[in-house]
């Protein structure tokens, strides 16, 4: 796979995206969360054994440039709906993590005809609590130690260490934060209208959640899944907001078996 000549750029509607592409098989379009697509992530290797992984970095994240007038979730949703239309596959599995899970939910609520199955991993996007209770930890307004503890089940093992990261990795990390803040600041990481429209989703849906996630809790996840007709909700133990990183084997197992279920 390291010598896979697949190009790492994907152009949609004049917007060039940095993309991780790997493997062959039933295709999965993966939309990343807080951080841009990571070609070194073990879950990519695991799932690419039986699937074609297409994992772009959103405009402004990673090495994907952001057009000047491109600064809302609306832009991202339309970009990825356009991407779905432009892919050669009739249908793809849509997999969204965290912030990218919000995008995936918006896309599926808008239009499911190019979506094979939907998998949401600790997705943002909804306002469920009352007006004085925040559903999603404000990572831009909480102490980094608080965010670290909320984000990871085992932070000492998995949380990024800025002192040992390369310059390039730190620049990428900062770009990702800037972009996430731009898109998700107000209202913070949700669309007040989305809750109403989730019932339109008419493809098999799996909602995965890390049991230790305190960025956004499994209780939120359970309520989220209940708003999508027929959605399954599964909790992965010993994982925080990134079960695909902290429990990559089990994560990949859940995803693979869900995709394999049924006639398709």
């Amino acid at each position: 796979m390291p010598d896979d000549p697949t190009p790492n750029r994907l152009t949609v509607e004049d917007t060039a995206l940095d993309v991780v592409r790997r493997g062959t098989g039933r295709p999965i379009l993966a939309l990343h969360g807080l951080q841009s697509a990571d070609p070194g992530a073990p879950w990519v290797d695991l799932l690419s054994r039986h699937h074609e992984i297409i994992a772009p970095s959103h405009p402004g994240f990673g090495d994907s440039k952001r057009p000047d007038d491109f600064d809302t979730v609306y832009d991202l949703v339309h970009l990825y709906l356009a991407l779905l239309e432009s892919l050669p596959h009739e249908k793809v599995v849509l997999l969204g993590f965290s912030f990218g899970g919000w995008l995936a939910a918006e896309m599926a609520a808008a239009c499911c005809h190019r979506i094979d199955k939907l998998i949401l991993v600790a997705p943002f996007g909804l306002k469920l609590g009352d007006r004085e209770s925040r559903d999603i930890l404000d990572i831009f307004n909480a102490h980094p130690d608080t965010v670290r503890a909320a984000e990871w089940h085992d932070p000492d093992r998995f949380a990024p260490d800025f002192n040992t990261m390369t310059d390039a990795a730190l620049v990428r990390y900062a770009r990702d934060r800037d972009a996430l803040c731009l898109y998700g600041f107000q209202p913070y990481m949700y669309n007040p209208q989305l809750k109403r429209w989730l019932a339109r989703i008419n493809v098999p849906t799996l909602v995965l959640w890390g049991a230790s996630d305190r960025i956004v809790t499994p209780e939120y996840g359970r309520a989220y899944a209940s708003l999508i007709p027929g959605a399954r909700f599964t909790v992965i133990d010993a994982a925080g907001h990134h079960p695909e990183i902290e429990q990559s084997d089990r994560f990949a197992g859940h995803v693979s078996s869900f995709i394999a279920r049924g006639k398709q």
Partner: protein
């Protein structure tokens, strides 16, 4: 050179152990530590000091900061309104309502026009980019702040200068369907505009727009570089040269009868640096949009990676993020602050020499924004400093007339 006296009205009366334990003395310190009776006394004292400046021939300057021990001037337009009514001669600089934090620039223009008319044309309007803890305190996205800043200024300027009935604005950040304020401003087409910035890129835009350019506590090197960026941008745009009247510098200033008295006053002013800048990492070094992502290696690490060499990127580009500037300032003592051109203090002769020495180092400036009271300085000490400065230093500075250097 004109002098503009200011006091940010800090609230220093929070126990030190509380400040030490807090990760920020701004934005998140519970306001039960702010006693409204003490705050009322502070407002009385400082407003009286502003009026004394008016009597003594100094101009006045009102800043805006939010939700911290560093300043009780969160509502700048209220101070500007009071000063417009209660002063008689002083020019009043609002530096300023933080325009990128407010949702409606038209309302800001209305407030400014009102104050300009109340003061019969003594208002000057300054703009500050804001950042850091001001962002959460005002529920503002820190990403895109600068773009919002310039659009707000454009809309305020048009609102103040448009007199032919309603116009509409459908900008990227602000929309307003029906703009037609009453009163229009006293000064035509609008009061003089100022902008505070230390970064060369914003400085260039300030230059192209012909605004008065203020540097705050940046020291001679950063100040000179910003002034030069301002002038160079004008030259490159084919715009006429500007005089020193387009440049201003803000520093701590205290003149006493003796060197010791002057230094004692100066030392009290440094409270602002040593105590009131502390802010949480999520509101400073990790705040998105504050510095270009390329600076993350210097900003994010708490220790250099193994084998690293000093990175001078910022020094060469002349860009030091405000959070880094704040960290540099927090540990300064009187001698260091004087050596760095942040504090001018001593006898009137000495203060005058220090200011003119700084003037020569940066290529001249026409306005001194004088932070004359801070921290635990008493009303009596502040009054004494105002009188000493206005009688013994300001007249000499007034003889320094605007010139076009070079």
């Amino acid at each position: 050179m004109e002098t503009w006296w200011q006091c940010e009205i800090p609230y220093p009366f929070v126990p030190q152990h509380v400040l030490d334990a807090a990760d920020s003395v701004r934005a998140s310190l519970p306001n039960h530590w702010c006693d409204p009776k003490i705050a009322a006394d502070l407002y009385d004292e400082v407003l009286d000091e502003f009026l004394l400046c008016d009597d003594e021939g100094l101009n006045v300057l009102a800043i805006e900061h939010h939700a911290g021990i560093n300043s009780l001037m969160g509502a700048n337009p209220m101070f500007v309104g009071i000063l417009a009514r209660q002063t008689r001669k002083a020019r009043i600089l609002s530096l300023g309502t933080l325009v990128s934090l407010r949702p409606d620039p038209v309302r800001i223009a209305e407030e400014y026009a009102t104050a300009d008319v109340m003061s019969r044309g003594r208002l000057e309007i300054g703009f500050v980019k804001s950042g850091g803890t001001e962002m959460p305190s005002n529920h503002t996205n820190p990403v895109g702040n600068l773009e919002r800043y310039w659009e707000a200024i454009d809309l305020i300027r048009k609102t103040l200068s448009h007199h032919d009935g309603p116009f509409s604005w459908e900008g990227r950040y602000f929309t307003h369907r029906h703009v037609n304020i009453w009163p229009r401003p006293w000064q035509q087409p609008h009061p003089r505009l100022w902008s505070a910035t230390g970064d060369p890129y914003t400085a260039a835009e300030v230059g192209r727009r012909g605004m008065v350019h203020v540097l705050v506590l940046r020291g001679p090197d950063g100040t000179k570089r910003a002034y030069e960026a301002h002038r160079r941008a004008r030259a490159e745009a084919g715009l006429p040269k500007v005089s020193t009247d387009n440049f201003a510098y803000a520093a701590f200033v205290y003149a006493g009868e003796t060197e010791e008295e002057g230094r004692a006053g100066g030392e009290k002013l440094l409270w602002f640096l040593n105590t009131s800048l502390k802010s949480a990492p999520q509101h400073s070094k990790f705040l998105p949009g504050t510095a270009p992502a390329e600076f993350a290696p210097q900003i994010y690490r708490s220790a250099p990676p193994p084998g690293a060499t000093p990175d001078m990127t910022n020094a060469e580009k002349g860009v030091v993020p405000a959070s880094q500037n704040a960290r540099r300032l927090m540990s300064l003592g009187v001698d260091d602050a004087m050596a760095q051109g942040i504090l001018f203090c001593g006898t009137p002769d000495s203060v005058y020499r220090q200011i003119m020495d700084f003037y020569d180092k940066v290529g001249g400036f026409g306005h001194l924004a004088m932070i004359g009271r801070s921290g635990f300085m008493t009303h009596e000490q502040s009054v004494k400093g105002i009188k000493m400065f206005s009688r013994e230093v300001a007249p000499r500075l007034r003889e320094v007339k605007p010139i076009i250097p070079g």
